[in-house]
């Protein structure tokens, strides 16, 4: 087996890595944003529930949730390994993304909300048109961090037999006895994926940045 075959075998797992990330990250963002809105604007009881949610899902190792969803819960609904993996990573990520969005909402000061309401906007409108657009901009740098984490965590679905990059590296490493080379190839692919994503998000951050004179 030559090196080209070797690399292309591992690289073909990228489809799954990217697939899992593209499900987990947006799912986490959607859930996380909704929960963050409840956390910040939903009153004390909601905040307590959200805090519990955050503590639980940031406390459980993702792979345990993965196992629970795939081996226990999905007995009833029959989720494929790919979906069970993607969704559990999405749920775990939602807890982190909730904290990111929450932090961003809180640092767009309460004064902005007050100013919007003074103009006559309802609370919902003020959040929608004044707080969120500013919070999104603040959230991009920490979100970029989370994206990198989810890309790397996507490798955990290997535990369910999804042939993504890490699993493929293990398999080809075992059959060729070239473990070092196999894992190095995997590392290179992850590095490329993460740096590409970070670049795209940096670009987005710059594009969305609000002009100002120093």
């Amino acid at each position: 087996m030559d090196f080209g075959q070797f690399l292309s075998y591992i690289a073909s797992g990228t489809v799954y890595t990217v697939g899992v990330t593209l499900i987990a990250l947006p799912a986490g963002l959607l859930i996380g944003t909704i929960l963050a809105l409840f956390y910040v604007y939903g009153g004390k009881a909601a905040a307590r529930v959200m805090n519990l949610y955050s503590t639980i899902f940031r406390g459980i190792p993702p792979v345990v949730l993965l196992f629970i969803l795939f081996f226990a819960v999905s007995k009833g609904i029959n989720l494929s390994a790919f979906w069970a993996g993607s969704l559990s990573l999405g749920v775990v990520s939602s807890a982190y993304q909730m904290e990111i969005v929450r932090g961003a909402l809180l640092s767009v000061s309460g004064d902005q909300l007050m100013a919007a309401r003074a103009v006559g906007l309802s609370r919902m409108q003020a959040i929608r048109y004044v707080v969120l657009p500013q919070a999104v901009r603040l959230a991009i740098p920490p979100w970029s961090n989370e994206a990198a984490i989810v890309i790397k965590d996507s490798s955990l679905v290997y535990a369910l037999g999804v042939p993504e990059i890490l699993r493929r590296a293990q398999l080809i490493g075992a059959s060729s006895q070239q473990y070092l080379l196999a894992y190095l190839s995997a590392a290179v692919i992850y590095f490329l994926l993460v740096s590409l994503t970070t670049r795209m998000l940096n670009h987005l951050e710059q594009k969305l940045s609000i002009p100002s004179n120093p």
Partner: protein, 255 residues
């Protein structure tokens, strides 16, 4: 007969054990400019926020024209449309241009079409002398310009009354004049205004009445002439002397 636009009766506001003001009465007539002065922590900002329903008073009533806005079941958003508010720290929406700041209430609250809103917003911006800065973001404007956008934003809603909470105290001395100039013009145009400020020049020249608040009470109110030249209480005289001294110095520095 002067027509009251804003009537405040028996207003009491407490934060926990802390009584900010108690049984406060104040009437603002149509076209009047009322200037409120008083030491820090007296409850001036709290009073304005109560009027705008940004905080709820504990007791007492407030009428806007004939509508009791403190009554249960009042549509707060509806009320706030008719009361313009200008903040000490401008509080422009940072992610929107000057035009966007003024348009937001027009499109989202008054439901004007984009075109109508733009036209109206440009008109308000030119009233405060900033038509040429319409597409600048707050971060690209000076403090004075930002505050003028803040005024335009409030004016665009065609409010019955404008509230100003120390609109110039966050500004560098050389930028105060342009904001006061806009306010002076507004007063001359007949806008009803309730202004918390320590700009005594403005108060003397523009105010119909000056209200001196201290420790949650209205100590004394009267025309500028009464307050500056024949105050009933020593405390009023002392306070006026102090701030004239303080702000007079600042004004000189600016020149």
């Amino acid at each position: 007969m002067p027509k009251p636009i804003l009537t405040i009766k028996n207003l009491t506001k407490t934060y926990g054990q802390n009584v900010i003001f108690q049984n406060l009465d104040l009437t603002v007539n149509e076209g009047d400019t009322i200037v409120i002065i008083g030491p820090s922590g007296t409850g001036k900002s709290t009073l304005l926020r109560c009027v705008n329903l940004l905080t709820r008073p504990n007791e007492g009533q407030i009428w806007l024209d004939d509508l009791e806005i403190t009554a249960k079941g009042t549509d707060e958003d509806q009320v706030r449309q008719h009361i313009g508010m200008v903040f000490q720290n401008f509080l422009l929406f940072n992610h929107l241009t000057a035009l966007g700041n003024v348009k937001l209430g027009l499109t989202r609250v008054k439901h004007l079409s984009d075109e109508e809103a733009t036209e109206k917003a440009l008109h308000e911006l030119s009233r405060v002398g900033l038509a040429d800065r319409a597409d600048h973001y707050p971060g690209q404007l000076s403090g004075g310009q930002q505050q003028r956008v803040g005024i335009a934003r409030a004016l665009a809603m065609d409010p019955r009354v404008m509230l100003f909470d120390e609109p110039t105290s966050a500004l560098d001395p050389e930028l105060i004049g342009e904001v006061l100039e806009v306010m002076r013009k507004l007063a001359l145009d007949g806008m009803t205004m309730l202004v918390v400020t320590h700009e005594m020049g403005f108060a003397r020249e523009v105010a119909d009445r000056i209200v001196f608040m201290e420790k949650g009470y209205i100590v004394e109110e009267g025309s500028p002439d009464e307050m500056f030249n024949h105050p009933k209480f020593d405390r009023t005289r002392e306070f006026l002397w102090k701030i004239t001294e303080l702000y007079g110095k600042k004004e000189k520095e600016a020149e």
